[in-house]
Symmetry: C2
Subunit: 319 residues, 2 copies
């Protein structure tokens, strides 16, 4: 078995490669991204890193034609919602283009494969609280250029799957977290502020945050990558799966948990720049479909993830 | 008042220009398309034809910056569903790109405008018959690359409208018909076959058709263009409107009507190439929203349209 992973140098790629290496040690992994090979990848013997710009159709055709991948996990995306508001056209077009280049290249190879297209809970857009938890049959309503690109990708996945008989499955992935996540995301942003204050000898931190009275659905990234492999193995072509814990966490409570774990206190300063123009109060997914069809359920307690992430930032931040 | 019409050289553009010329004789029309100026356009004094390739972002920026349009009707599209199955990537990307180039150019001008983005009933995809007639709140489910592009365009219209305060309205236009429609569409295809046989002196025609036991919702193209102007005038930003008659017509009955009008008989030969892979049995739209909000309703009886279209083909076909 061989795997092709796009966007492999990122946060999720790191864990996905570790999971494949551990669960399928015989498998061969082709990892691609637009950057130079990250140092952490060099530890894997069954892995080949191939830098490629997925916007380059010819390069993607050549890559796929040469590798003939059997499992493809398309993690690559221009994933910042904020960037998408500043550059709506480029964000939408680039996200669409890299997906289409990849899927068109796969359409040309004759051997069977399974393709996983990664989507986002952002596709649901603003939803009334009475619709929580969100099932896969809920309507989609993109409220940002980023979300519009994700909806398009899911729609095209379905069209290619049904129209050309391609074995494509899709996710709507909710919030995930863990060590190595970039601090533009909420959890590492908070923890880094706590750890920074702690390293400076303070017992209290002045937190710069967005809206803390929103509820989100968090899953440990290690559970997320297990979900991706479970969908590839057991999912049905043309179907979409929520990847989520099914539990809501109030950001205000999350902050309190971190403070308790670290034995610190805090004050909240609302940073207008961190509040998004259209923000859902509550986002919780329903994960019954992936549990039933793929036998997956989250296993890691989110407080254990928080502890790991705190340790990570304590090791990362030098004073 | 000035109007910018993209895809102006096509079937709908011809009627839209006639309607603006007749209802708003003081208005100035900038008509654009990728082809050379059609002969029929030369009859309008308040019209300037500007050939432009909307895929060329720089050209679109320059055009919009120079014209500063106040009303924009974006008719241009790669509109063949069949082509989209043969060239899914190009169909999707080109449709998305021409829309994005136009909307990005408009985002840069500071004076107010109203923009109408034309969509399609294809966006609804396969729907159960219990959901007929389709209201705008019905979920979308693209089942072809063409439909996926139309859904994307509507989604981006909404995102740009809500996110940047742009005055964009959208349609989901159902089947329309009238003289000058290309014979790749069902009604002119049928009528042309009848007229061809008639001109050869036959009283009966061997019809090559697709599935005739499907129900579609037809509106005269002259009513359609009135609907577009009504939405631009009275529609609400960020809202989508069905443009349809609200009535279903069985293709088998449509054929009988044409035969009766022409005093001819026929035999039906099902042409597999004309049957689409995923075909709805019944598509009928609900037009309550446009009636209520824009004061529009269809006025031309569809049998009058058929008569006009028969006359048109009788004049067009030389034996």
């Amino acid at each position: 078995m061989n795997y092709l992973i796009t966007g492999a140098a990122g946060f999720v790629g790191r864990y996905l490669i570790a999971e494949i290496g551990s669960e399928h040690p015989e498998a061969f992994i082709y990892a691609t991204d637009i950057v130079d090979e990250p140092d952490w990848m060099r530890g894997y013997s069954n892995l080949t890193y191939v830098p490629v710009n997925l916007l380059d159709r010819g390069a993607v055709d050549a890559l796929v034609g040469r590798l003939i991948p059997q499992r493809i996990i398309h993690l690559a995306s221009f994933s910042s919602v904020a960037y998408s508001w500043d550059h709506p056209a480029d964000s939408f077009l680039n996200n669409s283009l890299i997906f289409i280049n990849l899927i068109e290249a796969l359409k040309k190879i004759s051997s069977p494969f399974a393709f996983l297209s990664i989507g986002s809970s952002e596709e649901y857009g603003n939803v009334p609280e009475t619709d929580i938890p969100l099932t896969e049959s809920h309507g989609l309503n993109a409220t940002s250029p980023y979300a519009a690109a994700r909806v398009s990708q899911e729609m095209l996945s379905r069209v290619f799957s049904h129209g050309y008989g391609m074995n494509i499955m899709m996710t709507r992935s909710f919030n995930h977290m863990g060590p190595f996540q970039r601090e533009t995301f909420i959890v590492p942003s908070l923890i880094k502020q706590f750890v920074g204050a702690q390293k400076s000898g303070q017992k209290s931190v002045e937190l710069q945050v967005g809206d803390v009275d929103v509820v989100r659905d968090f899953t440990d990234v290690r559970d997320v990558v297990r979900a991706y492999l479970a969908i590839l193995e057991y999912g049905k072509a043309g179907e979409v799966y929520n990847v989520c814990s099914g539990k809501g966490l109030l950001i205000r409570d999350l902050i309190q948990n971190i403070a308790d774990m670290m034995g610190m206190s805090y004050a909240i300063h609302k940073d207008k720049n961190r509040v998004r123009p259209t923000e859902n109060r509550i986002v919780i997914g329903d994960n019954e479909k992936i549990r039933q069809q793929c036998g997956w359920s989250p296993e890691i307690d989110i407080n254990a993830t928080l502890m790991d992430t705190i340790s990570f930032w304590q090791d990362s931040i030098k004073v």
